[in-house]
């Protein structure tokens, strides 16, 4: 099977190169070659799928002849985790990278099979070039070949680190990878657009959804990682400004900027250079994340073995950056836009500010992450920056972002008059002021002015967003006569991008409230408690009732029962524990081996909407370890039949000697020994229950932290709404040609302006001006089309997406 896998991988490599070559050969409109290259991409995807299947079958069947299985799984690894073990390996994660890319490339080429004919060949070549790079790594770089075999076949594997045996570790890495990889699609199409000088919004329309999917995957991956850290690491935090975390956050931030600024290009034809730079930056950051995890150049918790692929990936980043920059510079004349932003009080100018903030945030994080290298370059000394430095810069930027999360949706495109601004800002501002006042009077929020500002801005943003939904649904109800809930659902389903986006905004605001509250007002204590002792943390009395212990062949789990009292009433019991694993492959034998392997914490968590009570235990194992060693020694003495050992020992010793002489008795003797050792281990474990040595507890009261997870899920839901295809598209009313797409986009803009007018965001006067402009632009498009001889235009090109009504047909009278 391994040799078949190797052959399939080699074939995949050749197919990727072939697809790229065919695409380039057909770049001047040779349909046959382009179709063939697209099919080669599908074949590439199928080949990699087969490779993954072979490896997963090997994992499932404990085929330790595969080196990857031997080093990342074992017979005892739960089967659920056997399937996930693939991507805990270097070679497996590279294979996952290439596989996700093959899927993304296939879908994007399928979706554009009848569109963008000039541009697609180049996009294909870029995607397949990158795919060939990663496939080639797995074929030619040492140490990362997934189909390396071992001979003779080992009986068992080294197993998967128990720390990684957590449900979110199943999905966290594939999520992040899908996020990184899916950004390849917008990047590839952008390169195609630049090469062919087709730099209007077509490539954006074709790949916008991929960018959104990538952004969603990456964000969800980050959230899962944070959650895992919070519940599994016995550390109590969810973010540590660790280089690898930063590496995933940076492309997400740039991706956020990109998703906003492409709307400006789509609607206004501006910011083309900026968008090209952003998509190159985002993709480079995604590659950089892939590189950082594999290079070991920076100190990180996500530690990495020394390995060989780092320099290659760095080389690829270099090629991407230099090539793209050269390309953008050579196309500057095509990218220049004659239009200017009309007014500072418009949605596009808010997008510009939001972009600057996001890019600034990324720059700060980049600088901090790479500071050890920068400092070594300038001072010769490696020096690093800790979390407080990151907090100092990111806090104000994040707070401003929340503010703009609220302002953006309240403004319309192009321009907003003072009167309409006053109307839409009145309520959110009032709520923000009331919130701030109430917090200052009623709580200790003024202890952290940053947090107070964030709470006020979040109140502003959330009210503004709620107002958007309310006025939009009201306007719809006035026209359709639906009930309010129906009108809201109708509003959202007919304007998925807009209202999905608003829901994401609300989710992010809620998430940051959770972050601000839990980081500014956290109570964090390390205490040593003996059984029966208590401690008061932030008004909660926590009593260490009793120790607990559980033992099996694999691990010994030492825990505690903690009684939690609030206002004199028992509100619950928490059971934090720490499990000590025997090193893999030593499931029997000496009792002291229990303390020779990994340890993992199980957190005792009492989650609440107000605050989480988070507890972790570090049991004191010194006495237990001593007793384990004594028991081991006693057992050895017993088997040797040393004087002073009990009578049964003599019988066991005799049995052992007999077994040494007669292999037929060996199994029986071993069973006897294992049984006795098991009993001894249980005895030793039980002695922990009467141990009076104090255990160390970490107790954290984390206010509002639950809202972080809730906010994350709200944002995820919003993103899914925005990604979901609109009804018209699903019915098959596919936007066929580029001219149709342009028209469709213009109609959408007109509908947006009408909606803004209906909900009062645009005053009558503003609306009249904007509407006239839009209609003039629409007519220009129609004129150009008619001039091209494409026949008569008959109204709406796409599905009926309007919140209120379809725009009037625009025809040259």
């Amino acid at each position: 099977m391994a040799s078949l896998g190797g052959a399939l991988l080699a074939l995949a490599f050749a197919t990727a190169l072939g697809a790229a070559a065919l695409a380039l050969a057909g770049r001047h409109g040779d349909r046959r070659r382009i179709d063939l290259s697209r099919r080669a991409v599908y074949a590439f995807c199928a080949l990699l799928t087969a490779c993954i299947a072979i490896i997963e079958i090997a994992f499932a069947g404990d085929d330790f002849g595969f080196r990857i299985v031997r080093e990342h799984s074992s017979i005892d690894t739960p089967s659920f985790y056997k399937l996930a073990a693939m991507w805990s390996s270097q070679e497996g994660s590279l294979l996952l990278w290439a596989w996700v890319l093959s899927i993304a490339a296939s879908i994007s080429l399928w979706a554009t099979r009848n569109k963008l004919r000039e541009l697609v060949p180049y996009a294909t070549a870029v995607m397949m070039g990158i795919a060939a790079f990663f496939t080639g790594l797995m074929l030619f770089a040492p140490d990362v070949q997934p189909f390396t075999t071992l001979s003779p076949v080992p009986p068992d594997g080294t197993g998967l680190n128990p720390l990684l045996q957590h449900p979110s570790m199943m999905i966290h890495p594939p999520m992040l990878y899908s996020g990184y990889v899916a950004f390849t699609v917008p990047f590839a199409f952008a390169i195609g657009a630049l090469i062919t000088r087709r730099v209007d919004a077509e490539w954006i329309r074709a790949t916008r959804r991929f960018a959104l999917v990538a952004w969603t995957f990456l964000g969800f991956g980050l959230l899962l990682g944070a959650r895992w850290s919070y519940t599994e690491l016995g550390w109590g935090g969810y973010w540590a400004w660790d280089p690898v975390e930063n590496a995933a956050l940076m492309p997400w931030l740039l991706g956020t900027a990109f998703l906003h600024s492409i709307m400006v290009q789509e609607k206004r034809g501006m910011l083309k250079v900026w968008n090209a730079c952003l998509v190159v930056g985002t993709f480079s950051m995604a590659l950089l994340g892939t590189f950082l995890v594999r290079s070991g150049v920076l100190q990180s918790i996500h530690a990495f073995g020394d390995n060989t692929v780092g320099p290659y990936i760095l080389g690829l980043i270099g090629v991407v950056l230099i090539g793209s920059t050269a390309l953008i510079v050579s196309r500057l004349d095509d990218l220049r836009s004659p239009k200017r932003i009309d007014s500072l009080a418009s949605r596009e100018s808010i997008f510009l500010v939001n972009n600057l903030l996001l890019v600034g945030l990324t720059a700060v994080i980049f600088w901090g992450t790479f500071f050890p290298l920068i400092s070594e370059l300038f001072t010769g000394e490696k020096a690093s920056l800790a979390a407080p430095w990151f907090d100092d810069y990111t806090t104000p930027l994040a707070i401003l972002l929340v503010l703009f999360t609220g302002i953006g949706p309240l403004l319309s495109w192009r321009r907003v008059s003072w009167d309409s601004a006053k109307r839409v800002f009145r309520l959110p501002l009032a709520v923000a002021a009331v919130t701030a006042t109430a917090l200052v009077l009623g709580t200790a929020a003024e202890d952290s002015l940053w947090a107070l500002a964030l709470f006020a801005f979040a109140a502003f943003a959330l009210t503004g967003l709620a107002q958007e939904f309310w006025t939009g649904a009201s306007a719809r109800r006035r026209l359709s006569g639906e009930s309010m809930p129906e009108a809201t659902v109708g509003l959202v389903t007919r304007n998925r991008r807009r209202y999905g986006g608003y829901i994401v905004h609300a989710g992010i605001a809620v998430l940051l409230v959770g972050v601000a509250a839990s980081s500014s007002f956290q109570t964090n204590e390390d205490v040593d408690l003996r059984p029966g002792e208590k401690v008061v943390v932030d008004g909660r009395t926590i009593t260490y009732e009793k120790p607990t212990v559980a033992i099996d062949d694999e691990k010994i789990t030492l825990g505690a029962v903690l009684r939690v009292e609030e206002d004199g009433e028992v509100v619950g019991r928490l059971r934090p524990s720490q499990a000590f694993f025997r090193p893999s492959g030593q499931e029997t034998g000496l009792i002291s081996t229990y303390f020779a392997g990994e340890a993992t914490s199980e957190v005792g968590l009492r989650a609440g909407l107000g605050a989480d009570l988070w507890t972790a235990e570090r049991p004191n194992v010194a006495a237990l370890q001593r007793r384990a060693r004594l028991a081991d020694k006693g057992f050895e003495a017993c088997v040797k039949g040393e004087p002073g050992t009990p009578e049964q020992c003599k019988a066991l010793g005799a049995l052992m000697r007999a077994a040494a002489a007669n292999p037929a008795l060996r199994d029986g003797a071993l069973e006897q020994v294992t049984k006795l050792q098991g009993l001894a281990a249980e005895n030793v474990a039980e002695s922990y229950l009467t141990d009076t040595a104090p255990a160390t507890f970490k107790i954290i009261v984390n206010p509002l932290v639950t809202w972080m997870w809730i906010g994350g899920l709200i944002a995820l839901a919003g993103a899914l709404i925005a990604i979901w295809p609109t009804r018209g598209r699903r019915r098959g009313a596919l936007v066929r040609t580029e001219a149709d797409a342009r028209k469709e986009a213009k109609y959408r803009e007109i509908r947006d302006a009408e909606l803004d007018h209906a909900v009062g965001k645009l005053s009558d006067e503003d609306f009249a001006a904007v509407d006239a402009e839009l209609r003039r632009e629409a007519l220009e498009i129609l004129d150009r089309e008619n001039g091209n001889g494409n026949g008569k235009v008959n109204g709406n090109g796409g599905g009926a997406d309007g919140a209120t009504r379809e725009p009037e047909k625009i025809e040259r009278s």
Partner: protein, 133 residues
């Protein structure tokens, strides 16, 4: 004011703000950073200065002292003389003998005293190419 000029003023203002922020960023990062050292470089370090120490915990050297722990570290490649370390507070799960750690603290009387909450232990298994058990 004519729009061309207005735009120029805006651009200059934005650029100056960006430059100012960048200077602040660079300045604070150099003053807020802690030097990274290996244990053998810290044996003769001056007391009071804060360092970020990266080293490997000597197997079998971990002892509980009061409500903290004491252990010894050597350079990551395993060479050099070992440096005694004390640390108060809870240690991360993967912490044990033979692991690489990163710890911020300062040297007092020949002992590296770690600051609470700064102990990072590297995850052992992810992406290691050779198994070290």
């Amino acid at each position: 004011m004519d729009p061309q000029r207005k735009r120029k003023i805006r651009l200059v203002t934005a650029l100056s703000v960006a430059v100012l922020l960048a200077v602040a960023l660079i300045y604070t990062s150099f003053s807020a950073s802690t030097e990274a050292k290996e244990p053998s470089q810290l044996l003769a370090a001056s007391p009071g200065t804060s360092y970020e120490m990266t080293g490997r915990v000597v197997k079998g050297s971990i002892r509980h002292v009061g409500n903290g722990i004491a252990f010894r570290v050597v350079d990551r490649d395993g060479g050099g003389r070992s440096l005694p370390v004390t640390y108060q507070g809870t240690v991360p799960d993967p912490f044990r003998g033979g692991r690489e750690i990163v710890l911020t603290g300062s040297v007092e009387n020949g002992t590296f005293v770690g600051e609470p909450e700064t102990l990072i232990t590297k995850c052992p298994s992810k992406f290691t190419t050779k198994s070290d058990g």
